[in-house]
Amino acid sequence: MQYNSFNTQPTFYQKLRNFDYILLICILLLGLISALSMYSTDGGEILFHSKSHISKFLIFFIMMILMSFFNIKFWYYFAYLFYIVVLFFLVWASLYGIKASGSQRWINLYFINLQPSELMKIAIIVCLAKYYHRIQLNKVNTFQVMFVALVILILPIMLVITQPDLGTSILIALSGLVVIWLAGINIKYFVYSFIALLISLPFAIAFLQPYQKLRILTFLNPDRDPLGAGYQIIQSKIAVGSGGLTGKGFLKGTQSYLDFLPEKHTDFIFTLFAEEHGFLGSLVLLLIYIIIIYRVLKIGAISRSYFAKLFCYGYGSAIFFYVTVNMSMVLGLLPIVGSPLPIMSYGGSSMLATMIGFAIVMSARINYKQLIA
């Protein structure tokens, strides 16, 4: 009986009460900050980027709230399907995708240009969470189980890396690996594969696109070619550094306003923010992300089902990766790889994927008592 009571569907009122409002507020705050930043990139006017970004945020935010009411079981049942559909989209993209600036990342769905690799960042976590949900701990380290997990991980990575999109494939790999790690795989495999990676690195570099090699060289020494490949990172550091303690002020970031900042809507949105709002502003933004990650992990901690727990832990870590990889990149701590800052960066697919992630997390929160057989 008691067991069954856990499985009882919460009432609509209970569902509303179960919402993580702190998480919701943080997401809304991020949305607000991103809208203001986008307004700033448009030079203090509501132009294409700000309009598009704000409407996408609002649409996907509402969608997220609605999807939160799905039972967590729904995600569990459709996890593999979700993964397979996204994988199919990836194959579709590599065959018939839209080419833009040297890579083939987008597919045309007639109402939206979708970047399936962004969705894969969520799908990989959902899929692996479901995969490990059923597997007993003592079987996790068997060859068969490991092999299937690796296939699930490597298939999308291969598809994304050949688009080519190094940044997203790294983020997919990190998200997948953290789930595999949390599932309890023996640490020695990580050590082995790390060694194997080091050995194969020279061969891997041979497969990299010329522009990717250039980015790595540039990261190692940005002054190598200050007007060419090193330009982005140098200008980004100048923008952040010149922000100082309190920043140059809203709409007063000269580096972005005068077009010295590259890709200021997307990957370098944090640079613009740091320039205009300084160290204190950056700390506030960072704090919001930390709170979000903390809330997501906390929801994982209270979730009763293994699937929900693993997903929340995995997604919380994934957000951590998105944020830190992006920030390290614009601060010159990592080479420039394309990676958006969740919610802040312009881009529909990334926004959609992030919101789906939050929808699953919120669903786990609402149904935290739910067990999945």
Binding site: Q235, G241, G244, F279, L283, S317, F320, T324, S328
Partner: protein
């Protein structure tokens, strides 16, 4: 059903591992914060500077060149507003298209078109290209009319040098033209001030006073975007105008000099005999310096360059002429000063003298008969001067000549093209030609021929110093604020002179008084100077004087002078027998006509020298010009003195 234990253990493993990851996350976040801190707080200054360097760019504006004024504050080299067409390539979308359109509208020649295209490829994209330096009003309105179709073309109002008196000041002022690479390399100030299209002095005073005239750049600071496009002007610092330089020259007289010399090669110099101020100095033929402002066209340039009358030479300073008979006053003075002769010394002129096997002719074949100093000077008797030169010797003659300013630069370093001329003596010949002096050379030196070479300005200075009673003066062409003049003025004031009463007569007297006190005496006995002056007076104002026909009888304008006819080619026996008229001789072999004069005789104030190249005789060509000029010089005197008083009382 899953085993309960396995499930619990699985969750425990996961929680433990999540905790480890959480700890790792904290470390990563802290390192990102540390990085932010180091960029934004520790290195903030460095990045702020870099950011400013990115966005701020300075544009130097062309400096505004100092003006030249004449003695009466008239602008003689000024700055004129001109309409120009500028293009900044980076602000143009389709440079080629714009240029083709402009070529049509302004009818730019193919050569110029290529030049502009060339220039564009050489300079940075944000540097201005001056498509047209001087648009006519018509072109300017046309460009403005089509401006909507000429994105990137900018009609601008600029300043350009302008010489309102065209030919009149060419040799004094020189001209400006676009700075050449050499100009920039040789002059640090030009280098530091240079902007595209900057014009600098090429000759004359424009070149000499370049450093003072040039002024300083204004600076405009702009915010630019990543593509170098100007977004907004942040501030604007105006440059300092170049120094205004005032000349001692009177434009009215200068203009008349220009007219008097129209079409002939020669020069006129006029000097204040007390102050040394050059009142006029004109060399002819002249040319319009305005032609050089926007690059002279080839046809005009060839016309100037190939003109056989040599308009590019400033004849007043660089023209070297044998002084001819205009040298005789100095020969006479030297003989008097050295006690060789007195006023009663007489020579019998038979038309020629024989000496050591050579015959030396007087210009008058039949001879002048018995002549004394006065009548010899009056009729310019060569025989008399052969005789006194022989007695005097060339070395003593040189001493007197040098004292009176011959063989030395008159204006020191004011003009880089001024020549020293030559007053030869025995030592000079030995050193330079390696030969000993022969007595015949002394004789012809005595009539201003031979090695003797003088500039017209030297002759003018010589005349001025004879006219002022034999006192050294320091010629000047620039009015200085705090030179000798103002010191003189102070001592003048101390002598309780009521200048404000406009007592011109007194000012003149006092100026001569100052000069006597201040300036070195060039004579031993003032009576000798007086004798020379009287002899020159006779030459102009007494019957049979060589310039008698050019005299003015009105005492107000009456002047004393000395003609000179300087041989360019040695006169052969055959020539002498032919007795050719000037016009029958080839131009380049004709004599130079010279004249020196001072006046008004009763109260001298101005001296002048006139040289007409290949003009024929001094009395028929040069002296009549003096007659025309003198009236004007004296008439201008009063206003000049009033202006002087104004300048003095201002000090």
């Amino acid at each position: 059903m899953l085993g309960e234990n396995f499930g619990v253990k699985k969750v425990q493993t996961m929680n433990r591992r999540m905790f480890i990851i959480g700890a790792a996350k904290l470390v990563v976040f802290i390192s990102i914060i540390a990085r932010l801190f180091s960029l934004q707080i520790t290195e903030n200054k460095k990045y702020l500077t870099l950011s400013d360097k990115n966005r701020l760019r300075e544009w130097r504006l062309p400096p505004i060149r100092g003006e030249f004024l004449d003695y009466f504050d008239n602008v003689i080299a000024g700055n004129l507003k001109v309409y120009q067409l500028h293009v900044i390539p980076e602000e143009v979308e389709d440079f080629r298209y714009l240029m083709v359109r402009l070529k049509e509208i302004l009818s730019i020649s193919n050569d110029n078109f290529k030049k502009i295209i060339n220039q564009k490829s050489k300079q940075k994209p944000w540097e201005t290209i001056i498509v047209s330096k001087n648009l006519t009003w018509e072109q300017f309105t046309k460009v403005n009319y089509y401006l909507h179709d000429l994105a990137g073309a900018k009609p601008v109002l600029s300043v350009s040098r302008n010489y309102p008196f065209n030919e009149s000041y060419t040799h004094v002022l020189g001209y400006v033209s676009e700075a050449s690479e050499k100009d920039i390399l040789n002059n640090k100030i030009i280098k530091n001030t240079h902007v595209p299209g900057l014009k600098v002095g090429k000759t004359g005073l424009e070149k000499t006073f370049e450093d003072e005239l040039i002024g300083t750049n204004g600076v405009q600071r702009y915010e630019v975007n990543a593509y170098g496009k100007r977004i907004s002007q942040l501030d604007h610092t105006a440059g300092l105008n170049g120094k205004t330089i005032q000349l001692t020259i009177d434009t009215e007289i200068q203009k008349i000099c220009n007219q008097l010399l129209k079409g002939i090669a020669g020069s006129i110099s006029v000097m204040d005999i007390y102050t040394g101020e050059i009142v006029a100095m004109q060399s002819s033929p002249s040319f319009d310096p305005n032609l050089f402002l926007f690059g002279i066209n080839q046809d005009d340039w060839q016309l100037i360059r190939n003109n056989p009358l040599k308009p590019l030479v400033n004849k007043s300073l660089s023209g070297l002429y044998s002084p001819g008979s205009t040298f005789k006053p100095i020969v006479a003075l030297s003989a008097l000063e050295n006690g060789i002769i007195d006023e009663n010394f007489k020579v019998n002129c038979t038309g020629k003298i024989e000496m050591y096997g050579h015959t030396y002719h007087c210009w008058k074949k039949r001879g002048h008969g018995i002549v004394d100093l006065k009548s010899a000077m009056k009729q310019s008797c060569d025989t008399y001067f052969y005789e006194i030169a022989r007695k005097l010797g060339v070395d003593r003659l040189k001493e007197t000549s040098t004292k009176f300013g011959l063989g030395e630069k008159v204006l020191n370093e004011t003009f880089n093209n001024e020549k020293k001329g030559l007053i030869a003596d025995t030592k000079w010949k030995k050193n330079n030609l390696g030969k000993g002096w022969v007595i015949g050379e002394t004789l012809i030196t005595g009539i201003g021929q031979g090695y003797t070479q003088t500039t017209p300005l030297q002759l003018c200075l010589m005349t001025a110093q004879l006219a002022n009673g034999g006192f050294k003066i320091y010629p000047k062409i620039i009015v200085e604020d705090n030179g000798k003049t103002s010191e003189d003025i102070k001592s003048l004031m101390n002598k309780n002179l009521d200048i404000k009463n406009n007592e011109l007569k007194e000012v003149s007297e006092l100026l001569s008084f100052i000069n006597k006190e201040k300036h070195e005496r060039l004579f031993k006995n003032s009576k000798n100077i007086k004798l020379v002056q009287e002899a020159m007076f006779a030459s102009t104002n007494e019957v049979r004087g060589t310039s008698y026909s050019s005299r003015i009888e009105d005492l107000k304008y009456q002047f004393a002078g000395k003609t000179g006819t300087s041989q360019v080619k040695r006169i052969t026996k055959a020539d002498r027998e032919l007795d050719l008229k000037t016009l029958d001789i080839p131009y380049n072999e004709r004599d130079h006509a010279l004249y020196i004069a001072f006046g008004p005789y009763k109260k001298p104030r101005y001296a002048l020298s006139i040289v007409i190249e290949h003009g024929g005789s001094g009395s028929s060509v040069a002296a009549p010009i003096a007659k025309k000029l003198f009236k004007l010089i004296i008439d201008r005197h009063e206003i000049r003195e009033q202006t002087r008083i104004k300048k003095i009382t201002k000090v």
